[in-house]
Assembly symmetry: C3
Homo-oligomer: 666 residues x 3
């Protein structure tokens, strides 16, 4: 990508009156150089079966081109028209909750041939129409695609075939999945019961894995069609989104992003997060780190919040902070969902850059400063490259398995993931993301492995080998407990990694109110000593104990250990500590392995990010994620503050205004 893009989603079709020229004028004033269109409006573009109308697409493309604004065209396949469902009601996904109802988006069975027929026809018609238009720089296939829990009879049939292909025989499945339990054995293929009622976690997790393959196949199929039309210089992307807990929270449950991203030219993503006094930047950071890791390259933020909800409307200064935070993580585009606020229907209170009155407002006015600075600094900031020494290993397989076997207090995979990520973020440790099948572990010095509950032997052996050859690994509790079929390993836990970790355990406890950890080595307040959710009663074999339990009954057991294994170390965290104690454990690990740098001496709310630009220069960002002024001493070689063109020298004190930031080119 040759410039930094500042964008909005634009729905001419949703406008209460013709605003196109007025909107473009306001966009240009705000530095908007890219719009995303068309992905939600199938019923406008095909009002009746086989009747097509791309008037609004045409006129927006023409007008944008005339204004010099580039356009990303989305295929409108994620929201099906009423006529289609009236004609083929079974296009609605049947889920474990029963038959679907028409109304919302993302309610169809993405494997249904009738849906695929209509979708393909629509995609081809749209592509034929737009692909040669000079405004078009790329395409988004579908939007936030997931499997929508599709689990009807037809999906069940596909699953049975998937199982036969994968495992060969029922006897293998019965054995690996433990179906003998509670008389669940399947002894002939035609009696394979619908999975929606299963109580077997292995089967349930495998079904989730299968459902994710449906997303991969669907997206690859769309990309293949779009690629037939794509011109040189145009790209195809997808708008991935994250596990949703009222905002982007963690690893996506329904999609294996790493696998699904393969056919795309560039990764796109939407990131939404708490704001106002709850703004930390963490979601921007982890979402960006994952997105960047998908194609090991820069990515597009296709959607993020402008005004959004009444509890997200940014404080003055926050919109600027957010935009540059995305760029600092490696985004080449920051686009808002959406330009204007919608006057009807469902997302009336998910406000855009403009309010319902279309007038300039404080947030729009702040966007104008972002646009101006993006334009000015585009050549310095675009295509930021990272060289991270730390990676986090994440796994959809482990995630699904933990949905079946939650921690006693209900915590899930992403709670453990965020517990880890948040403290790395606060320590200013930048990370890449890898998956269990990633083979070049030696690219990193430290690999952090949260709750890798279900995983193939090979991946664990690879981690052991990495450690033995001088790599460092931090494991949390639950890692390695079951194999890829969610079958608990029959050996002493933590199984395959026991030797690298130098520990064993066979009992685990739900911590009660008095459960704490104590350490002779690490420091935390007595308040921060409390542990929650899980505690494994660890016995070191060769490991050194970093922390042990402080409990009337369990104080003979280790809680956190570190083991020298070959040339590397394996640190094992056997319980869910407080964030502060975790930070202490992580800091100790970084120091122990020589990764404690200047960045780590700064602490949240000061966040720093860095990378190399197209000129090969090191760009450093310093963000203030608080409403109070912050200051720090700049410890690196002299450079230039890009926003102000002021020079900065080593040892100089730099002040960050509330929700403010500086960008230094070294």
């Amino acid at each position: 990508m040759n410039k930094l893009r500042y964008g909005v989603a634009y729905y001419d079709e949703y406008m209460p009156y013709d605003r196109l020229q007025e909107d473009i004028k306001m966009m240009l004033a705000a530095g908007i150089n890219t719009v995303r269109i068309a992905e939600s409006t199938w019923s406008t573009h095909e009002p009746q079966n086989g009747v097509f109308d791309f008037t609004s697409v045409d006129r927006v493309l023409d007008a944008m081109h005339e204004a010099g604004i580039d356009v990303i065209v989305g295929t409108p396949t994620y929201a099906v028209p009423a006529w289609m469902i009236k004609q083929h009601p079974d296009i609605l996904a049947t889920t474990s909750r029963g038959a679907g109802r028409y109304g919302a988006r993302q309610i169809m069975d993405i494997t249904h041939p009738a849906y695929l027929f209509y979708a393909e026809r629509m995609i081809r018609k749209l592509m034929e129409r737009v692909h040669k238009h000079p405004a078009v720089i790329g395409y988004q296939t579908d939007n936030e695609t997931k499997h929508y829990d599709t689990a009807g009879d037809n999906v069940q049939l596909q699953f049975v075939k998937y199982m036969r292909n994968k495992f060969g025989s029922l006897e293998v499945i019965n054995q690996k999945f433990g179906l003998t339990y509670w008389s669940n054995r399947i002894n002939s293929w035609e009696e394979f019961p619908s999975v929606v009622g299963t109580i077997n976690g292995s089967l349930g997790a495998e079904f989730a894995k299968f459902q994710r393959t449906l997303v991969n196949e669907f997206l690859a199929w769309q990309v293949q069609i779009v690629n037939e039309y794509k011109l040189p210089g145009q790209f195809v992307t997808q708008n991935f989104d994250y596990d949703w807990r009222g905002h982007s929270f963690g690893v996506q449950t329904s999609v294996d992003h790493f696998e699904a991203a393969k056919p795309f030219d560039i990764a796109g993503v939407d990131i939404y997060h708490p704001s106002q006094s709850k703004l930390t930047g963490i979601e921007i950071s982890f979402g960006g780190d994952i997105s960047r890791s998908l194609k090991q390259s820069n990515y597009l933020v296709l959607e993020t919040q402008a005004q959004a909800f009444p509890d997200w409307t940014p404080y003055p200064g926050q919109l600027r902070l957010l935009a540059f935070s995305h760029v600092a993580s490696g985004a080449n585009m920051v686009a808002y969902w959406h330009w204007h606020s919608i006057h009807n229907s469902f997302e009336t209170y998910w406000k855009g850059l403009l309010s319902h009155d279309f007038q300039p407002n404080p947030v729009y006015n702040e966007a104008k400063t972002v646009g101006a600075d993006f334009t000015k600094l585009s050549h310095k900031l675009v295509n930021l490259r990272k060289q991270n020494k730390v990676a986090i290993l994440v796994s959809n397989t482990a995630l699904s398995a933990i949905e079946w076997f939650k921690l006693p207090d209900g915590k899930l995979y992403n709670d453990v993931f965020r517990w880890i990520y948040d403290e790395l973020y606060k320590l200013n440790v930048e990370v890449d993301f890898i998956t269990p099948d990633f083979e070049q572990l030696s690219h990193y010095e430290l690999v952090i492995v949260p709750a890798l509950y279900s995983v193939e032997d090979e991946a664990l052996e690879r981690l052991n080998e990495f450690t033995e050859h001088g790599g460092h690994v931090v494991y949390t509790f639950k890692s390695g407990f079951t194999n890829e079929d969610v079958q608990v390993r029959t050996v002493v836990q933590p199984g395959i990694i026991s030797k690298a970790c130098g520990i064993s355990y066979n009992m685990f406890i739900a911590p009660d109110e008095v459960a704490k950890i104590q350490s002779d080595v690490l420091l935390w307040s007595s308040e921060d000593a409390a542990i929650t959710s899980w505690m494994e009663l660890i016995t070191p074999t060769t490991a050194k104990v970093l922390a042990s339990y402080d409990h009337p009954e369990w104080n003979n057991y280790a809680a956190v250990t570190r083991n020298q294994y070959g040339a590397g170390t394996a640190t094992y965290i056997g319980c869910m500590s407080s964030p502060a104690a975790l930070r202490s454990i992580l800091a100790d690990t970084l120091q122990h392995i020589g990764l404690w740098q200047e960045e780590q001496k700064l602490t949240f709310p000061i966040i720093t990010k860095k990378g190399f630009n197209d000129e090969g220069k090191l760009i450093r960002y310093y963000f203030n994620y608080s409403g109070e002024e912050q200051a720090f001493v700049y410890p690196h070689k002299a450079g230039t503050q890009l926003l102000t063109d002021q020079s900065v020298s080593e040892g100089q004190q730099i002040t960050l205004s509330p929700w403010g930031f500086v960008i230094i080119e070294q």
Copy 2:
């Protein structure tokens, strides 16, 4: 009505043994002069399809007549017999929760022709039987009629026709309802999807509006049949009830009471409320004010609680207080549901005046004193007429719209309504209720408009005109935001009323923990300064700021404003304040516009109500809604305490016993 009626619901059919003469003896001893019968017992009166048996009706009518007790006969249509559902299972209403189940009352589709056929036959048979009986003074059609969420295919078809009649074309509907969003456009009538799955708030709110018309039509149809039999002097009423949150809480969601009341001769109502230490009288007051406003006349309390639930059983004195509170609001009848406590089924713990043992008990004994005083004072207290200067404008349309677009903390229309009403009540401001289409605004000096979120332009223009000509209006946040189709107005907010209010806003926030309001003009404690639920960031144009936000980020914006507009004023409350702060705002408004009277100098728990009786004399009630003795100085012209026949002079101190009251004829 020529006398004050004291009544009970009486179900001879529910009695475990023949008690009729004994019950009548006890009724007479308690001064009961009216009973309500028959509305729940269809399966007794028509035990099999076409087989009728009115024995119990006949014997009760005869016995009551002999005892001099009048009877209101209810049509038994709100609870359908088992035989009917076995023969026509689709009479059960299909709702968004699926098919119905037989068992409860109020489960039928009130538009189903088979149901209507049976209901009409039953009504006619009953009316033929009873209308000439000298005991019968009137009729109640059905009971607490609502639409029961009926939404099956047949109802959907009616809705589609309603939409075509109302809007003419799908293009108009697509545009007004914003159906383009998420591909929801309907491009041919036959593909109009079932509304139960819709995510479109405009469509959802319109369906709710349509469902309310079904209630209007059903009740008008019943009244028309009954009117064919009604003799001169007899009346037809309906037992309206209110939004239910474990007790009567606010404006009814499922019925437009103002519209539904039109065919009736007199409004009837049931009012249930917390009791014991939680008794405030608010529900009696607002329920009475609404009921009185329906026909702008006196009304019947067809049901209220005697002993009722274990947490409602009245403290000594409360039953008396309650009965006279109803009368003070304009009720001409106070009737208990129900005479005795039921020995089986569902409402065993919703106790009547008698316990299950049919013996005199403390509550029955207290009722005897009520009955005696009703008899003694009937000519003084019946037909109380009010001349209120303040009206509250309520709207089912706004209510439904807010069901779709709740406040961020989940609050609904009735929460805002009660927030307003409760403080007016505590300030002893008596009010009438009006709806947006009410044209004689000049009957009032002050109109209070809570959360009029969805409303036609005309209604707002009428309010502007009212203000301009010297009327005063208090608006709360959210008023005027969307039009009658729940389409957000595209102009600067608060839209049409902006000019009268002299303000604008385009941002709104979910208040966080530190959000407060401050004022140089109004007073409240720092604790009472906290705001919740909603805050609009208001910029005054011509308005004076009464209160502004006290918040690290939003303190440049106004929270409460007042604007002189023509000869009147418009006060705008942009956030949900504490009750105390609201009371301060309302008190300031009353003072500002000259409505601060002697009544307002009394404060809750002393509540005063007034009105003129048939003799044209002013009757004043003073209630003590507390368990502690209260005293006040009587500030009006001399009069007579009606309960004791003692005279009272201006300036005399009057003591109210715990849960006690006085009635003064001036």
Copy 3:
């Protein structure tokens, strides 16, 4: 039974690899002398319709026999194979929640002829195979059998016939059940509506009663089949379980244990309970007392927890304490569910004696000491006989009725039951359990009757007679309120027992925050004076007031009374007091009637149990249910501490280690 049995459930079928000989070696080391097999593995034993494979049963029986371990064989009927449901989907129970789904166990309609056909064939095949095997000592039919809420059309038909058989005519039903209410009358048999939608508590409670008869019939049918094969010396048992609130909580809702137990030779039971710092022993005690009362004999604990959940894993010492607590209540067997921890499916975290690694662990090691002591002391401890003077009268009928008519704060029958039982337990009062139809009341000196809300006249009259003849009764609130049809008695409450209790009431209240009880006779702290859930406003006729209400409005009423009636006394507790106040009331009652013994001078956490062994010697257990050392003075005749063979003399101080205990033979 000629010895104390120490057992485990053993599923060779669930093993990830062949472990049989290794497992048996470890069992023998732990003193395991009995295993329970086969009850969950139908799909293994009949992999296809009519194809049988008992290989795993054969090999386990042979190996166990060789090792000298006895085997209880379970019929595998509580978990149906996939092939059966694919062929006959309607075997899945239809419930009020709709059609069933395959997956879990206990999901079938136990009245379905196809299911019964397959079940009978399986039982006979299995019995033919095993009944002559020398390892087999007995059989368990099915497992934790309940009715699984089966309520489909076929069950409804059976219910209608049950109703006709029981009541004769619809007129009787309409009258007794109050079906006139809300037009629920049933006027012809063919229109009898499905009960799943009913709002009639009498009908709903009767349906629950009917559903319990289905369990009785199903179990009796299984026993009858098994009995055809059973050899002399073999027994048939059932694994009863209790109301489940995350652990065994109270009287089972879905089964009338007393009735269901009749065809069995010996009662079996599973008992699960909180552990670690929440361990009290109460569930072991009440579960044991009920189980022992079923056949008025010793019982088998067929399942209890070894490691189980992460919050149940026993502290060191607790496993021993638990095992002997069961024996002290009269258990002749203590068996763990289960031997090993399961590696897949649903109960992976319900751990067995072994962890997933099959290695010795602290809990297994503790089991070895239990096994050794069981072996050593078997002849002293087996067949413990109790001679209790106190009985608790429990009732499924009352339980079901209260499900329909919950206490205002949602409390149910078992909350009242546990409120009573827990304080008796803490007072070291050992009890038997009886039901309302129990006729030999004079076997006891004191009968305690919690919330006997629905009951036949005869049972109450029997209690009156018992009282009159010198028995003592303690009733709680709600007792006697309705008859067996859940029809409230029409007489003054508490109805039939009024004369024995010497009280009356007709009002009852949901206590508010200030509701308390006070007493001149009994002592409790002001904090313990608070009452919750329910308060009846009692007027004594002949009773003495033990406590009255302390409330601004209700302090004229009695709360707890005692009445001399003939030669006995009836104590009535009209409200739900604090546990401490209840303990005071119960203690006073025990003292008053001469049942205050040495045992009652000890208080929780010291718990004592006693009984006579096969030699006629008195065995006393003293348990310490706490993590702190406890001491007491032994007040009885000299004896021997069985675990240590030390002698103990009267007046000697005995120290109990944390979670420790002593057993003394007197």
